[in-house]
Protein backbone atom coordinates (compact mmCIF):
# COMPACT_ATOMS: atom_id res chain seq x y z
CA UNK A 1 0.00 0.00 0.00
CA UNK A 2 2.88 2.35 0.68
CA UNK A 3 3.46 2.87 -3.02
CA UNK A 4 -0.03 4.34 -3.41
CA UNK A 5 1.23 7.52 -1.77
CA UNK A 6 3.96 8.01 -4.35
CA UNK A 7 1.51 8.05 -7.27
CA UNK A 8 0.36 11.13 -9.15
CA UNK A 9 -3.25 12.28 -9.09
CA UNK A 10 -3.69 11.09 -12.69
CA UNK A 11 -2.36 7.64 -11.71
CA UNK A 12 -4.60 7.48 -8.64
CA UNK A 13 -7.61 8.53 -10.69
CA UNK A 14 -6.92 5.85 -13.31
CA UNK A 15 -6.12 3.14 -10.76
CA UNK A 16 -9.27 3.90 -8.79
CA UNK A 17 -11.45 3.92 -11.90
CA UNK A 18 -10.01 0.68 -13.27
CA UNK A 19 -10.48 -1.05 -9.92
CA UNK A 20 -6.75 -1.55 -9.27
CA UNK A 21 -7.34 -0.12 -5.78
CA UNK A 22 -10.27 1.44 -3.92
CA UNK A 23 -10.71 5.04 -2.86
CA UNK A 24 -10.70 3.76 0.70
CA UNK A 25 -7.24 2.24 0.19
CA UNK A 26 -6.03 5.55 -1.18
CA UNK A 27 -7.44 7.53 1.76
CA UNK A 28 -6.11 5.05 4.33
CA UNK A 29 -2.63 5.12 2.78
CA UNK A 30 -2.44 8.89 2.93
CA UNK A 31 -4.02 9.08 6.39
CA UNK A 32 -1.33 6.69 7.64
CA UNK A 33 1.44 8.70 5.95
CA UNK A 34 0.15 11.93 7.49
CA UNK A 35 -0.08 10.38 10.96
CA UNK A 36 3.52 9.11 10.70
CA UNK A 37 5.06 12.42 9.57
CA UNK A 38 4.61 14.66 12.61
CA UNK A 39 8.33 15.47 12.52
CA UNK A 40 7.74 17.60 9.40
CA UNK A 41 5.06 19.72 11.13
CA UNK A 42 3.30 20.03 7.77
CA UNK A 43 -0.27 19.60 9.01
CA UNK A 44 -1.86 21.80 11.69
CA UNK A 45 -5.06 19.72 11.79
CA UNK A 46 -5.54 16.16 10.56
CA UNK A 47 -8.98 15.17 9.26
CA UNK A 48 -8.71 11.46 8.39
CA UNK A 49 -12.45 10.94 8.78
CA UNK A 50 -13.14 13.62 6.14
CA UNK A 51 -10.84 11.85 3.65
CA UNK A 52 -12.49 8.52 4.47
CA UNK A 53 -16.05 9.85 4.08
CA UNK A 54 -15.23 11.15 0.59
CA UNK A 55 -13.56 7.83 -0.22
CA UNK A 56 -16.63 5.83 0.84
CA UNK A 57 -18.79 8.03 -1.38
CA UNK A 58 -16.37 7.54 -4.28
CA UNK A 59 -16.26 3.77 -3.85
CA UNK A 60 -20.06 3.66 -3.81
CA UNK A 61 -20.33 5.81 -6.90
CA UNK A 62 -17.62 3.95 -8.89
CA UNK A 63 -19.37 1.87 -11.51
CA UNK A 64 -22.06 4.53 -11.89
CA UNK A 65 -20.00 5.78 -14.82
CA UNK A 66 -20.63 9.35 -13.77
CA UNK A 67 -17.75 10.10 -11.43
CA UNK A 68 -16.70 13.69 -10.73
CA UNK A 69 -13.12 14.56 -11.70
CA UNK A 70 -11.52 14.15 -8.26
CA UNK A 71 -13.53 11.16 -7.01
CA UNK A 72 -11.30 9.09 -4.77
CA UNK A 73 -8.59 11.77 -4.46
CA UNK A 74 -7.79 13.12 -0.97
CA UNK A 75 -6.13 16.54 -0.76
CA UNK A 76 -4.34 18.72 1.77
CA UNK A 77 -5.77 22.21 2.26
CA UNK A 78 -3.68 25.25 3.20
CA UNK A 79 -4.85 26.67 6.52
CA UNK A 80 -5.78 29.93 4.76
CA UNK A 81 -8.95 28.37 3.28
CA UNK A 82 -12.07 28.46 5.45
CA UNK A 83 -13.29 24.89 6.01
CA UNK A 84 -16.66 24.44 7.67
CA UNK A 85 -16.34 23.29 11.26
CA UNK A 86 -12.58 22.69 10.98
CA UNK A 87 -10.03 25.03 12.61
CA UNK A 88 -8.94 27.74 10.16
CA UNK A 89 -6.23 29.91 11.69
CA UNK A 90 -4.03 31.21 8.86
CA UNK A 91 -1.10 30.08 11.01
CA UNK A 92 -1.91 32.79 13.56
CA UNK A 93 -2.63 32.83 17.28
CA UNK A 94 -5.19 35.57 16.70
CA UNK A 95 -7.48 33.05 14.93
CA UNK A 96 -6.90 30.30 17.48
CA UNK A 97 -9.93 28.04 17.68
CA UNK A 98 -11.76 29.72 14.78
CA UNK A 99 -14.13 27.20 13.20
CA UNK A 100 -15.77 28.82 10.17
CA UNK A 101 -19.51 28.17 9.82
CA UNK A 102 -18.95 28.27 6.03
CA UNK A 103 -16.73 26.77 3.35
CA UNK A 104 -14.46 28.70 0.96
CA UNK A 105 -15.56 28.61 -2.69
CA UNK A 106 -12.33 26.90 -3.79
CA UNK A 107 -12.60 24.06 -1.25
CA UNK A 108 -16.35 23.77 -1.93
CA UNK A 109 -15.49 23.37 -5.64
CA UNK A 110 -12.95 20.65 -4.78
CA UNK A 111 -15.52 18.85 -2.64
CA UNK A 112 -18.07 19.08 -5.46
CA UNK A 113 -15.45 17.43 -7.67
CA UNK A 114 -15.36 14.54 -5.19
CA UNK A 115 -12.15 15.32 -3.26
CA UNK A 116 -11.80 14.56 0.44
CA UNK A 117 -9.65 16.51 2.90
CA UNK A 118 -6.64 15.00 4.67
CA UNK A 119 -6.16 18.03 6.90
CA UNK A 120 -5.09 21.67 7.11
CA UNK A 121 -1.57 22.63 6.11
CA UNK A 122 0.86 24.77 8.05
CA UNK A 123 1.90 28.12 6.59
CA UNK A 124 3.58 31.42 7.39
CA UNK A 125 1.31 33.53 9.58
CA UNK A 126 -1.30 35.18 7.32
CA UNK A 127 0.87 34.01 4.38
CA UNK A 128 3.52 36.59 5.31
CA UNK A 129 6.84 34.88 4.89
CA UNK A 130 9.08 32.92 2.56
CA UNK A 131 10.27 30.19 4.91
CA UNK A 132 7.30 29.06 7.03
CA UNK A 133 9.15 30.29 10.10
CA UNK A 134 6.51 32.89 10.99
CA UNK A 135 3.80 30.27 11.70
CA UNK A 136 2.32 30.23 15.19
CA UNK A 137 2.60 26.43 14.97
CA UNK A 138 6.36 26.58 14.42
CA UNK A 139 8.19 26.02 11.16
CA UNK A 140 7.54 23.21 8.70
CA UNK A 141 10.67 21.13 8.18
CA UNK A 142 11.45 20.27 4.56
CA UNK A 143 11.69 16.56 3.76
CA UNK A 144 14.85 17.47 1.79
CA UNK A 145 18.31 17.68 3.35
CA UNK A 146 21.64 18.79 1.99
CA UNK A 147 23.95 15.97 0.99
CA UNK A 148 25.68 14.57 4.06
CA UNK A 149 23.91 16.96 6.45
CA UNK A 150 20.99 16.70 8.82
CA UNK A 151 20.44 20.45 9.24
CA UNK A 152 16.71 21.25 9.08
CA UNK A 153 15.82 23.15 5.91
CA UNK A 154 12.86 25.37 5.17
CA UNK A 155 10.36 24.17 2.54
CA UNK A 156 9.90 27.83 1.56
CA UNK A 157 6.76 29.84 2.15
CA UNK A 158 4.20 30.84 2.64
CA UNK A 159 2.67 27.56 1.36
CA UNK A 160 5.40 25.57 3.14
CA UNK A 161 3.18 22.89 4.67
CA UNK A 162 1.56 22.42 1.27
CA UNK A 163 4.95 21.98 -0.42
CA UNK A 164 6.34 19.61 2.21
CA UNK A 165 3.16 17.49 2.15
CA UNK A 166 3.41 16.83 -1.59
CA UNK A 167 7.18 16.28 -1.55
CA UNK A 168 6.92 13.82 1.35
CA UNK A 169 3.94 11.90 -0.13
CA UNK A 170 1.56 13.15 2.58
CA UNK A 171 -0.95 14.27 -0.08
CA UNK A 172 -1.09 13.72 -3.84
CA UNK A 173 -2.05 17.37 -4.31
CA UNK A 174 -2.77 20.43 -2.21
CA UNK A 175 -4.10 23.95 -2.36
CA UNK A 176 -1.72 26.86 -2.01
CA UNK A 177 -2.10 30.60 -2.25
CA UNK A 178 0.27 33.03 -3.89
CA UNK A 179 0.47 36.73 -3.07
CA UNK A 180 4.08 37.33 -4.11
CA UNK A 181 5.46 33.86 -4.81
CA UNK A 182 3.96 31.75 -2.02
CA UNK A 183 3.09 28.84 -4.34
CA UNK A 184 6.05 29.02 -6.69
CA UNK A 185 9.01 29.52 -4.34
CA UNK A 186 8.06 26.60 -2.01
CA UNK A 187 7.30 24.39 -5.04
CA UNK A 188 10.83 25.12 -6.30
CA UNK A 189 12.39 24.47 -2.87
CA UNK A 190 10.95 20.95 -2.61
CA UNK A 191 11.04 19.83 -6.25
CA UNK A 192 7.32 19.88 -7.06
CA UNK A 193 5.07 21.79 -9.46
CA UNK A 194 2.79 24.69 -8.55
CA UNK A 195 0.79 27.20 -10.55
CA UNK A 196 -0.71 30.54 -9.69
CA UNK A 197 -3.44 31.23 -12.27
CA UNK A 198 -4.45 34.63 -13.65
CA UNK A 199 -5.76 36.89 -10.89
CA UNK A 200 -9.51 36.27 -10.66
CA UNK A 201 -9.56 32.66 -11.92
CA UNK A 202 -9.98 31.24 -8.41
CA UNK A 203 -12.46 32.86 -6.07
CA UNK A 204 -10.99 34.58 -3.03
CA UNK A 205 -14.25 34.08 -1.11
CA UNK A 206 -13.49 32.26 2.15
CA UNK A 207 -9.72 32.64 1.74
CA UNK A 208 -8.32 34.60 4.68
CA UNK A 209 -7.26 37.91 3.10
CA UNK A 210 -3.65 39.14 3.09
CA UNK A 211 -3.32 41.56 0.12
CA UNK A 212 -6.54 41.36 -1.85
CA UNK A 213 -5.28 42.77 -5.16
CA UNK A 214 -2.54 40.11 -5.22
CA UNK A 215 -3.92 37.03 -3.43
CA UNK A 216 -4.67 34.14 -5.73
CA UNK A 217 -5.21 30.45 -4.99
CA UNK A 218 -3.66 27.66 -7.01
CA UNK A 219 -2.69 23.98 -6.88
CA UNK A 220 0.61 22.30 -6.02
CA UNK A 221 1.25 18.70 -7.04
CA UNK A 222 3.84 16.28 -8.38
CA UNK A 223 3.29 16.95 -12.08
CA UNK A 224 2.07 19.54 -14.56
CA UNK A 225 -0.87 17.30 -15.49
CA UNK A 226 -1.92 17.05 -11.84
CA UNK A 227 -1.83 20.84 -11.54
CA UNK A 228 -4.06 21.13 -14.61
CA UNK A 229 -6.54 18.61 -13.13
CA UNK A 230 -6.69 20.44 -9.80
CA UNK A 231 -6.84 23.94 -11.26
CA UNK A 232 -9.83 22.97 -13.43
CA UNK A 233 -11.67 21.91 -10.27
CA UNK A 234 -10.64 24.95 -8.20
CA UNK A 235 -11.28 27.72 -10.73
CA UNK A 236 -14.57 29.24 -11.86
CA UNK A 237 -16.72 32.33 -11.62
CA UNK A 238 -18.03 33.19 -8.17
CA UNK A 239 -20.54 36.02 -7.70
CA UNK A 240 -19.37 36.30 -4.07
CA UNK A 241 -15.95 37.66 -5.16
CA UNK A 242 -16.19 41.00 -6.96
CA UNK A 243 -12.87 40.38 -8.74
CA UNK A 244 -13.78 36.85 -9.86
CA UNK A 245 -13.52 36.50 -13.65
CA UNK A 246 -16.84 35.67 -15.29
CA UNK A 247 -15.31 33.31 -17.84
CA UNK A 248 -15.65 29.59 -18.56
CA UNK A 249 -12.92 27.34 -17.12
CA UNK A 250 -10.83 25.95 -20.00
CA UNK A 251 -10.18 22.21 -20.30
CA UNK A 252 -6.53 22.63 -19.36
CA UNK A 253 -5.80 18.94 -18.97
CA UNK A 254 -7.28 18.05 -22.37
CA UNK A 255 -5.31 20.94 -23.89
CA UNK A 256 -1.92 19.74 -22.61
CA UNK A 257 0.69 19.48 -25.34
CA UNK A 258 4.46 19.76 -25.12
CA UNK A 259 4.73 20.57 -28.81
CA UNK A 260 5.85 24.21 -28.68
CA UNK A 261 6.45 24.76 -32.39
CA UNK A 262 5.58 28.32 -33.30
CA UNK A 263 5.83 29.53 -29.69
CA UNK A 264 8.29 32.26 -28.72
CA UNK A 265 9.87 32.11 -25.27
CA UNK A 266 10.85 35.45 -23.79
CA UNK A 267 14.10 35.58 -21.83
CA UNK A 268 14.10 38.81 -19.80
CA UNK A 269 17.60 40.26 -19.61
CA UNK A 270 16.86 42.05 -16.32
CA UNK A 271 16.50 38.67 -14.57
CA UNK A 272 20.23 37.93 -15.01
CA UNK A 273 21.37 39.03 -11.58
CA UNK A 274 25.04 38.83 -10.61
CA UNK A 275 24.39 37.70 -7.04
CA UNK A 276 22.44 34.64 -8.18
CA UNK A 277 24.49 31.40 -7.95
CA UNK A 278 25.99 30.28 -11.26
CA UNK A 279 24.22 26.91 -11.10
CA UNK A 280 20.83 28.66 -11.12
CA UNK A 281 21.75 30.63 -14.23
CA UNK A 282 23.11 27.39 -15.75
CA UNK A 283 19.77 25.67 -15.09
CA UNK A 284 18.03 28.62 -16.74
CA UNK A 285 20.20 28.06 -19.83
CA UNK A 286 19.29 24.36 -19.83
CA UNK A 287 15.62 25.36 -19.61
CA UNK A 288 16.03 27.51 -22.73
CA UNK A 289 17.57 24.51 -24.54
CA UNK A 290 14.71 22.23 -23.43
CA UNK A 291 12.10 24.65 -24.76
CA UNK A 292 14.05 24.99 -28.03
CA UNK A 293 14.08 21.21 -28.25
CA UNK A 294 10.26 21.29 -27.89
CA UNK A 295 10.06 23.57 -30.90
CA UNK A 296 9.96 27.01 -29.29
CA UNK A 297 12.08 29.98 -30.33
CA UNK A 298 13.83 31.97 -27.59
CA UNK A 299 13.73 35.76 -27.86
CA UNK A 300 15.48 38.25 -25.63
CA UNK A 301 12.98 40.62 -24.03
CA UNK A 302 13.24 43.56 -21.68
CA UNK A 303 11.15 44.18 -18.56
CA UNK A 304 12.78 47.49 -17.62
CA UNK A 305 11.02 48.05 -14.27
CA UNK A 306 11.93 44.65 -12.85
CA UNK A 307 14.22 46.04 -10.14
CA UNK A 308 11.36 48.14 -8.77
CA UNK A 309 8.94 45.23 -8.42
CA UNK A 310 9.98 44.17 -4.91
CA UNK A 311 9.93 47.68 -3.38
CA UNK A 312 6.54 48.24 -5.07
CA UNK A 313 5.26 45.00 -3.60
CA UNK A 314 6.53 45.90 -0.12
CA UNK A 315 4.41 49.05 -0.17
CA UNK A 316 1.24 47.62 -1.71
CA UNK A 317 1.09 44.27 0.10
CA UNK A 318 1.61 45.69 3.63
CA UNK A 319 -0.82 48.54 2.88
CA UNK A 320 -3.55 46.10 1.89
CA UNK A 321 -2.63 43.81 4.79
CA UNK A 322 -2.91 46.60 7.35
CA UNK A 323 -6.45 47.27 6.12
CA UNK A 324 -7.45 43.61 5.88
CA UNK A 325 -6.06 42.72 9.29
CA UNK A 326 -7.94 45.55 11.00
CA UNK A 327 -10.80 43.05 11.36
CA UNK A 328 -8.93 41.12 14.08
CA UNK A 329 -10.25 43.15 16.98
CA UNK A 330 -11.16 40.47 19.52
CA UNK A 331 -14.89 41.06 19.05
CA UNK A 332 -16.28 38.66 16.47
CA UNK A 333 -13.89 35.70 16.36
CA UNK A 334 -10.52 34.49 17.52
CA UNK A 335 -8.44 35.68 20.41
CA UNK A 336 -9.49 38.31 22.95
CA UNK A 337 -7.17 39.77 25.58
CA UNK A 338 -8.83 42.07 28.09
CA UNK A 339 -6.16 44.74 28.47
CA UNK A 340 -6.70 47.44 31.06
CA UNK A 341 -8.11 50.40 29.17
CA UNK A 342 -11.65 49.60 28.05
CA UNK A 343 -12.41 48.85 24.40
CA UNK A 344 -9.26 50.46 23.00
CA UNK A 345 -7.11 48.61 25.51
CA UNK A 346 -8.80 45.36 24.52
CA UNK A 347 -7.96 45.97 20.85
CA UNK A 348 -4.32 46.74 21.62
CA UNK A 349 -3.84 43.83 24.01
CA UNK A 350 -5.54 41.39 21.63
CA UNK A 351 -3.46 42.43 18.64
CA UNK A 352 -0.24 42.56 20.68
CA UNK A 353 -0.76 38.99 21.90
CA UNK A 354 -2.30 37.58 18.72
CA UNK A 355 0.01 38.74 15.94
CA UNK A 356 3.58 37.54 15.45
CA UNK A 357 6.60 39.78 14.77
CA UNK A 358 6.50 39.67 10.95
CA UNK A 359 2.76 40.37 10.81
CA UNK A 360 3.18 43.32 13.19
CA UNK A 361 6.08 44.62 11.08
CA UNK A 362 3.95 44.55 7.92
CA UNK A 363 0.92 46.11 9.59
CA UNK A 364 3.20 48.89 10.83
CA UNK A 365 4.69 49.50 7.37
CA UNK A 366 1.22 49.42 5.82
CA UNK A 367 -0.22 51.79 8.39
CA UNK A 368 2.68 54.19 7.85
CA UNK A 369 2.50 54.25 4.04
CA UNK A 370 -1.27 54.84 4.18
CA UNK A 371 -1.12 57.51 6.87
CA UNK A 372 -1.94 61.16 6.31
CA UNK A 373 0.87 62.98 4.51
CA UNK A 374 2.59 59.82 3.22
CA UNK A 375 -0.16 58.20 1.15
CA UNK A 376 0.79 59.83 -2.16
CA UNK A 377 4.54 59.54 -1.70
CA UNK A 378 4.35 55.81 -1.01
CA UNK A 379 1.05 54.16 -1.95
CA UNK A 380 0.03 56.20 -5.00
CA UNK A 381 3.62 56.14 -6.25
CA UNK A 382 3.74 52.35 -5.88
CA UNK A 383 0.46 51.93 -7.78
CA UNK A 384 1.92 54.05 -10.60
CA UNK A 385 5.06 51.93 -10.75
CA UNK A 386 2.83 48.87 -10.67
CA UNK A 387 1.07 50.18 -13.78
CA UNK A 388 4.47 50.50 -15.47
CA UNK A 389 5.41 46.94 -14.47
CA UNK A 390 2.14 45.70 -15.97
CA UNK A 391 2.87 47.70 -19.12
CA UNK A 392 6.35 46.08 -19.35
CA UNK A 393 4.68 42.66 -19.52
CA UNK A 394 2.05 43.81 -22.03
CA UNK A 395 4.84 45.00 -24.34
CA UNK A 396 6.87 41.82 -23.80
CA UNK A 397 3.90 39.66 -24.78
CA UNK A 398 3.79 41.41 -28.14
CA UNK A 399 7.14 39.70 -28.79
CA UNK A 400 6.71 36.36 -27.02
CA UNK A 401 4.09 33.84 -25.83
CA UNK A 402 5.59 32.78 -22.52
CA UNK A 403 8.48 33.96 -20.34
CA UNK A 404 11.11 31.68 -18.77
CA UNK A 405 13.13 32.64 -15.66
CA UNK A 406 14.47 30.89 -12.56
CA UNK A 407 11.86 30.57 -9.77
CA UNK A 408 14.01 31.65 -6.83
CA UNK A 409 17.49 33.15 -6.41
CA UNK A 410 18.68 30.25 -4.23
CA UNK A 411 17.92 26.67 -3.23
CA UNK A 412 16.24 26.01 0.13
CA UNK A 413 18.08 27.51 3.08
CA UNK A 414 18.35 26.33 6.67
CA UNK A 415 15.81 27.19 9.33
CA UNK A 416 17.02 30.23 11.23
CA UNK A 417 19.69 31.09 8.64
CA UNK A 418 17.97 34.21 7.28
CA UNK A 419 17.18 36.67 10.05
CA UNK A 420 17.19 40.00 8.20
CA UNK A 421 13.63 40.80 6.98
CA UNK A 422 14.95 42.52 3.85
CA UNK A 423 17.13 39.54 2.89
CA UNK A 424 14.08 37.30 3.33
CA UNK A 425 12.00 39.53 1.04
CA UNK A 426 14.60 39.13 -1.74
CA UNK A 427 13.62 35.46 -2.09
CA UNK A 428 10.67 36.53 -4.20
CA UNK A 429 12.65 38.71 -6.61
CA UNK A 430 11.68 36.60 -9.65
CA UNK A 431 8.14 35.75 -8.48
CA UNK A 432 6.77 39.16 -7.48
CA UNK A 433 6.60 40.94 -10.88
CA UNK A 434 4.04 38.42 -12.25
CA UNK A 435 2.01 38.82 -9.06
CA UNK A 436 1.90 42.60 -9.43
CA UNK A 437 0.68 42.15 -13.02
CA UNK A 438 -1.88 39.44 -12.13
CA UNK A 439 -0.34 36.99 -14.62
CA UNK A 440 -0.42 33.17 -14.53
CA UNK A 441 2.92 31.71 -13.46
CA UNK A 442 4.23 28.29 -12.58
CA UNK A 443 7.30 26.63 -11.10
CA UNK A 444 8.46 23.24 -12.39
CA UNK A 445 11.43 21.28 -11.05
CA UNK A 446 14.52 21.59 -13.26
CA UNK A 447 17.26 19.71 -11.41
CA UNK A 448 19.37 19.50 -8.26
CA UNK A 449 22.13 21.83 -7.15
CA UNK A 450 25.58 20.73 -5.92
CA UNK A 451 24.19 20.18 -2.43
CA UNK A 452 21.51 17.84 -3.79
CA UNK A 453 18.66 20.33 -3.37
CA UNK A 454 15.93 20.97 -5.97
CA UNK A 455 15.89 24.08 -8.18
CA UNK A 456 12.86 25.31 -10.09
CA UNK A 457 12.20 26.97 -13.42
CA UNK A 458 9.55 29.65 -13.64
CA UNK A 459 7.15 30.26 -16.52
CA UNK A 460 5.06 33.43 -16.79
CA UNK A 461 2.17 33.60 -19.25
CA UNK A 462 -0.02 36.31 -20.67
CA UNK A 463 -3.35 37.10 -18.98
CA UNK A 464 -5.73 34.10 -19.12
CA UNK A 465 -3.17 31.98 -20.97
CA UNK A 466 -2.58 29.28 -18.36
CA UNK A 467 -2.54 26.76 -21.22
CA UNK A 468 0.74 27.98 -22.72
CA UNK A 469 2.29 28.10 -19.23
CA UNK A 470 1.19 24.51 -18.56
CA UNK A 471 2.35 23.33 -21.98
CA UNK A 472 5.78 24.90 -21.64
CA UNK A 473 5.94 23.42 -18.14
CA UNK A 474 5.12 20.00 -19.56
CA UNK A 475 7.87 20.36 -22.16
CA UNK A 476 10.38 21.10 -19.38
CA UNK A 477 9.04 18.28 -17.21
CA UNK A 478 9.46 15.75 -20.04
CA UNK A 479 13.02 16.89 -20.75
CA UNK A 480 14.33 17.59 -17.24
CA UNK A 481 13.60 14.01 -16.18
CA UNK A 482 13.39 15.16 -12.57
CA UNK A 483 12.84 11.99 -10.55
CA UNK A 484 14.83 12.83 -7.41
CA UNK A 485 12.97 12.29 -4.14
CA UNK A 486 13.97 13.18 -0.60
CA UNK A 487 15.33 10.26 1.37
CA UNK A 488 12.84 9.40 4.12
CA UNK A 489 14.19 10.37 7.57
CA UNK A 490 10.96 11.33 9.34
Amino acid sequence: MSEITSKTIAQLRDGFRSGEFTAREIAESFNAAVAAAKALNAYTVETPEDALAAAYAADEARGSGDLPSLAGIPLGIKDLFATRGVDTTAGSNILKGFKPPYESTVTANLRKAGAGMLGKLNMDEFAMGSSNETSAYGPVISPWRRKGSNVGLTPGGSSGGSAAAVAADLAPGVTGTDTGGSIRQPAAFVGITGIKPTYGRCSRWGVVAFASSLDQAGPMAKTVRDCAILLEAMAGFDPKDSTSLDLPVPNWEAGLSSDLRGKRVGIPKEYRIDSVPAEINALWDRGIEWLKDAGATPVEISLPHTKYALPTYYIIAPAEASSNLARYDGVRYGLRESGCDGLDGMYKATREAGFGAEVKRRIMIGTYVLSAGFYDAYFTKAQKVRALIKQDFARAFEQCDVILTPTAPSAAFGIGETTDPLAMYLNDVFAVPASLAGLPAMSVPGGLDEQGLPLGLHLIGNELDEQTVLNAGLAIEERAGFTARPEKWW
Partner: protein, 95 residues
Protein backbone atom coordinates in the same frame (compact mmCIF):
# COMPACT_ATOMS: atom_id res chain seq x y z
CA UNK B 1 12.45 60.04 5.07
CA UNK B 2 13.14 58.17 8.26
CA UNK B 3 10.96 57.45 11.26
CA UNK B 4 11.70 58.27 14.89
CA UNK B 5 10.64 56.23 17.89
CA UNK B 6 7.90 58.85 18.48
CA UNK B 7 6.52 58.19 14.99
CA UNK B 8 6.71 54.43 15.44
CA UNK B 9 4.78 54.80 18.70
CA UNK B 10 2.17 56.84 16.83
CA UNK B 11 1.90 54.21 14.04
CA UNK B 12 1.45 51.48 16.66
CA UNK B 13 -1.35 53.55 18.19
CA UNK B 14 -3.02 53.98 14.79
CA UNK B 15 -2.69 50.23 14.16
CA UNK B 16 -4.00 49.43 17.66
CA UNK B 17 -1.08 47.19 18.50
CA UNK B 18 0.24 47.33 22.04
CA UNK B 19 4.05 47.64 22.08
CA UNK B 20 6.67 47.96 24.77
CA UNK B 21 9.38 50.64 24.53
CA UNK B 22 11.89 47.89 23.77
CA UNK B 23 9.80 46.63 20.86
CA UNK B 24 9.45 50.15 19.51
CA UNK B 25 13.19 50.74 19.76
CA UNK B 26 13.84 47.49 17.90
CA UNK B 27 11.38 48.40 15.15
CA UNK B 28 12.83 51.86 14.42
CA UNK B 29 15.96 50.64 12.57
CA UNK B 30 14.04 47.78 10.91
CA UNK B 31 11.36 50.08 9.52
CA UNK B 32 13.95 52.63 8.44
CA UNK B 33 15.87 49.92 6.63
CA UNK B 34 12.75 48.79 4.77
CA UNK B 35 11.49 52.32 4.08
CA UNK B 36 14.93 53.39 2.86
CA UNK B 37 14.85 50.49 0.43
CA UNK B 38 11.34 51.15 -0.93
CA UNK B 39 12.24 54.80 -1.46
CA UNK B 40 14.22 53.82 -4.57
CA UNK B 41 10.83 54.11 -6.32
CA UNK B 42 11.45 57.86 -6.31
CA UNK B 43 13.90 57.27 -9.19
CA UNK B 44 11.10 56.07 -11.47
CA UNK B 45 9.57 58.71 -13.70
CA UNK B 46 5.81 58.30 -13.25
CA UNK B 47 4.72 61.62 -14.76
CA UNK B 48 1.40 61.15 -16.50
CA UNK B 49 1.05 57.53 -15.32
CA UNK B 50 -2.35 56.59 -13.90
CA UNK B 51 -2.08 54.52 -10.71
CA UNK B 52 -3.19 50.94 -11.33
CA UNK B 53 -6.69 50.26 -10.03
CA UNK B 54 -7.55 46.87 -11.53
CA UNK B 55 -5.02 44.08 -11.99
CA UNK B 56 -7.07 42.45 -14.74
CA UNK B 57 -9.32 44.86 -16.66
CA UNK B 58 -12.96 44.12 -15.91
CA UNK B 59 -16.19 45.93 -15.22
CA UNK B 60 -17.58 45.87 -11.73
CA UNK B 61 -20.78 43.86 -11.82
CA UNK B 62 -24.12 44.99 -10.49
CA UNK B 63 -26.41 42.50 -8.83
CA UNK B 64 -30.09 42.46 -8.01
CA UNK B 65 -30.78 44.23 -4.73
CA UNK B 66 -32.15 41.15 -3.04
CA UNK B 67 -31.77 39.60 0.38
CA UNK B 68 -30.16 36.23 -0.24
CA UNK B 69 -29.28 35.13 3.26
CA UNK B 70 -29.88 35.99 6.90
CA UNK B 71 -31.49 34.49 10.01
CA UNK B 72 -28.19 32.87 10.94
CA UNK B 73 -27.56 34.73 14.20
CA UNK B 74 -26.28 31.66 15.99
CA UNK B 75 -23.75 30.95 13.23
CA UNK B 76 -22.60 34.58 13.20
CA UNK B 77 -22.06 34.60 16.96
CA UNK B 78 -20.67 31.07 17.20
CA UNK B 79 -17.02 32.18 17.16
CA UNK B 80 -17.38 35.28 19.31
CA UNK B 81 -15.03 35.37 22.32
CA UNK B 82 -18.01 36.76 24.21
CA UNK B 83 -21.66 36.92 23.13
CA UNK B 84 -24.62 37.87 25.30
CA UNK B 85 -28.34 38.00 24.56
CA UNK B 86 -27.74 37.50 20.85
CA UNK B 87 -25.13 40.27 20.58
CA UNK B 88 -21.34 40.57 20.47
CA UNK B 89 -20.23 41.73 23.92
CA UNK B 90 -17.45 44.31 24.28
CA UNK B 91 -15.93 46.16 27.23
CA UNK B 92 -18.06 49.06 28.42
CA UNK B 93 -17.63 52.10 26.13
CA UNK B 94 -20.15 54.54 27.67
CA UNK B 95 -19.92 55.51 31.32
Amino acid sequence: MSVSSEQVRHIAKLARIGMSDAEIDALVPELNNILGWVEQLAEVNTDGVEPLTAVIEQKLRLREDQITDGNIREAVLANAPEAQHGFFAVPKVIE
